[in-house]
Symmetry: C2
């Protein structure tokens, strides 16, 4: 009998997890992992930090091609891109990006893990030298080298999302002047006013210039970003204005898609087509609180979905209970995190939400390193259900995980206020800021 | 009509919370708070840190006597000790500790919040000058002054519990030599081997000498601790070997007591006698996982219980859902925390528990401040229910709160492994150490 043939498209977080898990569970399976680039299994989230640390970009690689091949016995095919699938014939049409050779690859189980790509605005000059869009490892390599080779002193970051915020922090650490240009009238719109304000102060206190309501007119060469407000001369530009799923090659395949063309999956990572799975940034993900699938592309989610796809493609029955929508980023010394729904998301989902925000001591007041922490909780006025939480903190941002679990478990703020949180003066006030906020929210 | 007369015995965490809450809810009530010492509402947990910081011990006071009287309109009676109660006549027998005058104080509602006292071993010489037992604010004041006035260079700490561990840390910060003497053959017995070992290494790396299996023979003057192993000359001794509830004055009152003479209460802080409440370190507390009352004296618990007693003594109906048994302490740079049950506690409670322990990266591996984190999970082999968790970590000990919530919500390790924890390289690896441990535990 032929061994089970599993084809995984994509070798980053989701694909690598899926392939590894499948091969581990079914040792005699033939697991083929196609990767259109030369790069596998890297932590893209780490690239701003590598830049700040002036390290080698290769350090973000988690598992090497050699390890996939020799230790994990996965048939990894680099520079081979899936350009179409035929789910009736059960074949993937593959193109080698070096030789342009094409071939048909048949499968018993197919796992699509093609990730996402930058969703770039149509700016004149966006392909000029010195203009980057940090997303792939190759983007990171090139930017990292360019900063040195061109001895960059001034950076303009287009888009005020978390990639550019992290990049601002790390470019400042390298001594660059940094300007962030945001199209909308503010950044961090999902956050409450108090937390957004604190984040903006942290940017300002560290010398990053943030300008909102900016329309980019064009990018000139030598580098110059021309906008409706001003012209910004600089040595380097990064454009990060969101992602879209890498699913164009699947048009007409019969797969069902979400509104943004992410692949619709169920809680087992199955698509609507038998024996075809999808996972990671190219797919939707189940939201525990909203009780429906959403698009929430994050490395953590991709790893979990990949593992589940690998298990279920080899006869398992793993069910993903869903995300709560947790994310965190660091801005200089400040941690900023959220979980669950924002006020607007909660309203849109049919809840009757309110926001409660408190500012409190993070630690015992007599400790010299005590600073203020801000906690915002979003809760339903009628049922008291905790719907969302946001924190900014210098030293205890992992409190967000406790609130993620509280949302997962459908706790009410009347329960959250008495939760058994760890107390010791170096870590918390005797009433933890989260409990203080929940007590307020329960009134 | 006479105003409601509420007598609160004790003015530290639980009593102060109860009195404040009662007065806030019922402005016309006469709230009398008896305190046998001159001190009110202080954070005893902070005293080792004040010592380490060479600060004024008064900084641990949260609310002053003046504020209770003038802002909160509470009839605070300092140096007045309850020496008996008659629940049929509804009176408290009060003695003024300065004048020795006694009087009967009648009540409509009685809240007992007398806390705990050091449970000292019968050591010959334990009352010598230079021998302390850090528990009350007055103990803290005296020790803090003695360290300076006697220019202490060497300390012997009898008992290897968390007070002496925190004291060891803070005395080292002041430059003292520190020896800890423990009667049992090890310290931190509720912790898993790996975490205990890490804690002991942290002590050793910071120059604290820990000696176990020590029987103290006597304490001589000039200060010398004579043991079965060696004689330790020193300038100062602290004995911290556990607590017992301050309930001797209640013998014969008709109240029901727990095995260690803590007052039995229900989840509303009611005792077995009508209109008599108890809270804080003199009372039991409901354990959510064990589904029964236990003795777990901690400042956080006292504050919560006090608040609930104050609410229910003024006609409220607040129910305490219970602790999970969370605690944390800091040993030099290392945080050590637990929640839920230890293996032995889980076995004793009739579970079929196992321990899973992992050592992992706390943060992204390429960050220079990444260190190792140890996570131990205790889970039931049959049901997979999470029963306990222990962590030691340099930079992310608040992960314990998420596990406290997971235990509160009766989650299984098969759910914990996919929880939506915050990920960003400065805070976590892409698979958080807790999720890695839960994945192992689920196998």
């Amino acid at each position: 009998m032929e061994p089970l043939k599993i084809v995984v498209i994509g070798a980053d977080a989701a694909g690598a997890s899926a392939a590894s898990q499948a091969k581990r569970r079914q040792k005699d399976a033939h697991v083929i992992m196609l990767e259109k680039t030369q790069d596998v299994s890297y932590g893209a989230c780490g690239m701003p930090y590598i830049i700040g640390l002036k390290k080698d970009m290769e350090e973000v690689v988690a598992v090497s091609a050699k390890e996939f091949r020799e230790k994990r016995n996965i048939d990894l095919r680099l520079n081979e891109e899936a350009i179409g699938i035929d789910t009736k014939k059960r074949v993937v049409l593959v193109k080698n990006n070096l030789s342009n050779h094409q071939y048909e690859l048949n499968y018993d189980k197919l796992i699509i893990a093609t990730g996402a790509k930058s969703n770039l605005p149509p700016i004149d000059g966006i392909t000029n030298e010195g203009v980057f869009s940090l997303k792939s490892l190759e983007d990171g390599r090139k930017l990292n080298k360019y900063l040195i080779s061109e001895n960059c002193k001034k950076a303009v970051l287009i888009g005020g999302g978390f990639i550019n915020l992290e990049l601002a922090d790390n470019l400042k650490k390298r001594g660059l002047e940094v300007v962030i240009l945001e199209k909308l009238d503010n950044i961090l719109l999902e956050y409450t006013d108090e937390i957004r304000q604190k984040a903006i102060e942290e940017l300002q206190n560290n010398g990053v210039k943030l300008i909102c309501s900016v329309d980019i007119e064009k990018i000139d060469s030598p580098l110059k970003v021309i906008t409706n407000k001003d012209t910004f001369e600089c040595d380097v530009v990064n454009v990060s204005t969101g992602f879209k799923p890498n699913t164009d090659f699947l048009i007409g395949s019969g797969l069902n898609f979400f509104s943004n063309n992410a692949i619709d999956v169920d809680q087992k990572m199955k698509t609507n087509i038998e024996d075809v799975f999808a996972c990671g940034d190219c797919a939707t993900i189940y939201h525990k609180l909203l009780k429906k699938h959403v698009y929430f592309p994050l490395g953590t989610n991709a790893n979990k979905q990949g593992r589940i796809a690998g298990i279920n493609a080899t006869g398992g029955n793993e069910v993903f209970e869903g995300i709560t929508g947790t994310s965190v980023f660091k801005l200089f010394d400040l941690g900023i995190a959220k979980t669950g729904l924002s006020l607007k998301q909660a309203q849109d989902a049919g809840f009757e939400p309110k926001i409660t925000t408190i500012v409190a001591n993070e630690k015992a007041h007599y400790l010299p390193n005590n600073k203020e922490i801000i906690v915002s909780l979003i809760s339903d006025i009628k049922t008291k259900q905790l719907l969302g939480a946001q924190i900014c903190s210098y030293d205890g941002i992992l409190r967000i995980n406790a609130l993620s679990v509280a949302i997962y478990a459908n706790l009410k703020v009347s329960e959250v206020k008495y939760l058994d949180f760890a107390y010791s003066p170096p870590y918390s006030a005797v009433w933890d800021a989260v409990l203080i906020c929940a007590t307020q929210a329960d009134k």
